[in-house]
Amino acid sequence: MSIFKNKIQIILTLIFLGYVAWWASFQSVVQSQGRSVQWFGATYGVVALIGAVTGLVASRKWGGYKTIMGRALLFYALGLFAQEAGQIIYTYYIYGAKIQIPYPSWGDLAYFGSVLLYIYATILLAKAVGIRFSLKLKKYRIITFLVFAVILSTSYWVFLHGHQYDWGKPLTSFLDFGYPMGQAVYISLAVTAYLLSRKMLGGVMRDGILVIILALAVQYFSDFTFLYQSSRGTWLTGRWNDLSYLVAYFVMAMAMVKFNLIYSGLRKKKSTIINTPADGGAQE
């Protein structure tokens, strides 16, 4: 079983490196948006799809919806599914229906859905790493407030300051506001979870949780860049932003694999407490 899971890790890495090599191969001609660029943009979400399936398996092992860790993994997996769904829908609009992507569209349902799924998953992750214990201290409550204040106000200032809302289209206005602020919320939660747990978080779960937080950071960087470039009309398929999305999917997928491996490791491990005397031993 462990070999199988390591195989997933190896296959995922090879697919990722293959996509990176493919991305590098067309950079000199990316402006022409040729067929290779189109196919790259349409298919690299397969990394998210593999991560999503792996995440569903991991979630089930960690108790599924009934437990905090299982539910967190479930919602990260659904977030990855939503990313892939958004990519497929956008690809259909551009290359299948050959139309300008409508806004809002079904693709936004998937992409904005992934933001909400990541927010909920990260709330659960923060719960799992016990931030409530740190929040008992005033110092950590101030840190939490500062993290949210800085990230949310920066997002607001970059994307929404002076923005003209079209109140005749409430859904459009909602998404104009919801995308940057929703993304700012999940990264604020992730940064808070990291800062408030870094001194106490240890054990075999530490690495898996840190990889998830890293994946969220890369995802946020990608989302931020996408919004920034598309709001200024400079976004193009196959450039740096697609590469950073590919990295975000890969890191999150590796986190999902990691939780499968942690589970297998724990099940195999023999008890560490083997020398306890039968009578309980002397008390100090």
Binding site: M200, G202, G203, R206, L266
Partner: protein
């Protein structure tokens, strides 16, 4: 069920709510602790304080100090009912 066993039950339940069935597998590895979790039956053989310490140590392997805090929180309402001269060190 004595107080040590009730504390152990609460700790396992709390850990189970976070990590699922692996919490029970971890507890089953603790020496001098007999579980029939389907019936929520917990039996402590020997020194209860030592068994709790070993259980907390087992969970500590998962999340480090955070696991210890979770165990302390779970045991909180019952800890005062234990004899003062035989408290589990991990929960003090």
């Amino acid at each position: 069920m004595d107080t040590y066993a009730r504390i152990i039950e609460r700790i396992i339940k709390q850990q189970e709510s976070i990590i699922g069935p692996i919490a029970i597998e971890q507890a089953e590895r603790v020496h001098n602790l007999k579980l029939d979790w389907g019936k929520k039956d917990v039996e402590v053989l020997g020194d209860g304080a030592k068994v709790i310490d070993d259980l907390v140590e087992q969970y500590k392997e998962l999340f480090g100090k955070i696991s210890v805090e979770v165990c302390k929180e779970a045991a909180g309402p019952l800890i005062n009912q234990l004899p003062k001269d035989n408290l589990p060190k991990a929960l003090v």
